[in-house]
């Protein structure tokens, strides 16, 4: 746990509660440690800037999931990254990880990653994901199905 003075105690607790989750999401999109760290910082700076009030912990968690995802997506919208980053279609193995499944997840197109993460890791239902992301439930189901199919092709015939 991190402690840096009493004035930031509330922020500290929010940071400690969410940093791992935010880092995980940012890493999924950025695919390397350094860029993921930058995105985590940007997400928490956004929190400090807008200072949103949360109804409960679930609301807080959802805000951080959506904000960190949008941050990462915005990062790839810039002209520089559109022209210099590798396309999602190319398969790249990442230095930071030796886990093959993680490599396959990281190699998924960005639009499927978020749904896969929220469904398989955070345990949200498709209805909840649709409500959080403000997208139709049918779209979420389609994205989940396609993402799952892509993973199945890579991982092989595994149990559902």
């Amino acid at each position: 746990m991190i402690s840096l003075g009493c004035a930031n105690s509330e922020f500290e607790s929010i940071y400690n509660r969410n940093v791992e989750m935010v880092y995980r999401i940012c890493y999924m999109y950025m695919k390397n440690k350094d860029d993921a760290e930058d995105m985590v910082q940007n997400t928490f700076i956004k929190y400090l800037k807008y200072n949103p009030t949360f109804e409960n912990l679930e609301h807080e968690k959802a805000w951080f999931i959506v904000t960190s995802t949008n941050n990462c997506k915005n990062h790839f919208k810039t002209w520089w990254h559109k022209n210099t980053y590798l396309d999602n279609e190319f398969e790249v193995s990442f230095k930071d990880t030796k886990d093959e499944t993680l490599n396959y997840v990281l190699n998924l197109p960005n639009k499927y990653k978020q749904v896969i993460y929220m469904y398989y890791y955070e345990g949200y239902s498709t209805i909840e994901i649709a409500r959080l992301l403000n997208i139709k439930e049918t779209t979420i189901r389609t994205q989940l199905l396609k993402g799952r199919q892509l993973l199945k092709e890579k991982i092989g015939s595994l149990e559902e």
Partner: protein, 83 residues
Amino acid sequence: MKEKIYNSLNSIIPSETQKENMFKNILKPKKKNGGYIYKTCMMFSCFIMAFVLFSDKIDVENNNGVMPRTVNYNCEDVEEIDE
């Protein structure tokens, strides 16, 4: 499959030092002059480059494709010889 995905995603964890560094960087005040100075220098160097590149252009069309002579070879005193 569900377990595999969960476990692989669960392996993405920042270290304690990473967490501390990120936390410190979030609370660190940002220097706002850096960007301004950088942009001003870039603008200035672009103006200089543009001036150097475009100020010395030769108007080829007005000289029928022949470059105008800018060097004086002191040929005024050369006598013409009638053959």
